[in-house]
Symmetry: C2
Subunit: 208 residues, 2 copies
């Protein structure tokens, strides 16, 4: 399988992590995001949404990290939950992640670290930080009572929710402030195949 991605993309990292944990053969097709590759016509022909990750498996082209994770867990029979009810819970947490955690943390990290300094808007950073903390509090509460997001074993929901939380840049969330999240990130890091995002895919940010 071929994965379009780059080191700074937490959404591509979610997929790369799953591919590694599921022991699937794959190669990286690096995307030059900061030079605008995802906004160009060649990339838009592949994915009109203009986003990584894209996973190509033979003639199947998939986008949206959660859909790719769902596809990979169906194909390998791994990390997808142990019943139809667990699979719905996995989907539920992945939707919540896209809406309320990754969807916010990724914007915040981008604006604080990768956007040109003169385009960073303090009011927007403050707004996103408030929303990121509300999201983190819900995840922290859940993980205070559960070792894994769904059921009693790691699933693609863990990979999805953790995707943006290993990056070293300022994200408006400090792991030390969220002890249950911190311990869970450490548990995920013990899964065979885990590696730090910047060790999984090369960075694309100029000068990184």
């Amino acid at each position: 399988m071929e994965l379009y991605g780059f080191g700074e993309s937490g959404n591509a990292y979610k997929v790369a992590l799953a591919l590694r944990a599921m022991d699937v053969d794959w190669t990286l097709r690096p995307v030059d995001f900061f030079a605008g590759e995802t906004r160009g016509p060649d990339f838009r022909a592949l994915n009109p949404m203009g986003e990584v990750p894209v996973l190509v498996d033979g003639t199947t082209v998939l986008t949206q990290s959660a859909v790719i994770l769902d596809y990979l867990s169906s194909k390998t029979g791994r990390f997808g939950g142990q019943s139809a009810a667990e699979r719905r819970e996995v989907l539920r947490w992945m939707f919540w992640d896209n809406h309320k955690l990754t969807g916010i943390v990724s914007q915040l990290r981008f604006m604080q670290n990768f956007l040109a300094p003169d385009k960073r808007v303090p009011e927007v950073i403050a707004y996103l930080r408030g929303r990121a903390r509300t999201g983190a509090m819900i995840l922290e509460d859940h993980l205070s009572a559960h070792g894994w997001v769904v059921g009693t074993a790691p699933t693609i929901a863990d990979f999805s929710l953790a995707g943006y939380l290993y990056f070293p840049e300022e994200k408006g969330l400090e792991r030390a402030d969220w002890p249950a999240i911190d311990a869970w990130l450490e548990r995920i890091a013990q899964i065979p195949g885990w590696a730090h995002p910047y060790d999984v895919m090369p960075r694309a940010f100029p000068g990184a």
Copy 2:
């Protein structure tokens, strides 16, 4: 089935619309959102994420509109796409909706219309409006070439993406600026069971 919701919630409306289009018997359990009901302990015991919609079907309690829509289409065999590939496309668009359209438009509408005027932040409104328009442009491009979001018939992806777009309040998007979206909203409104959000569930906003 029992649906927890209120008129202003586009996410609850998505589910109500699907229930009506699928001709499922349901009753509304109105939620007093603006008085803080979703943040109270009783509601959190039902849904720790503190969100509507919640659908109760016997002993099954479901949250996240897209998961509920997926459940309903599986249960009724309707509006779920016509193949495994179409079902993945439906999921893909619903994830994109949560991340890039509903996830943005709902924040923008809330801040412009329901938040106390002294708490509205012009910089945040401008930021969200820019992101909402980027999302709308991608949907407009897609609908310029397709009658329905996935395949050749309406699916739950259409209900999801359209959920916030029928409301009359300022959303940072004017239907007239997006002709393909406008025509598609009109097509959806022809599906038996369609009704305007405020005719489906009573409003909860004080004085509405």
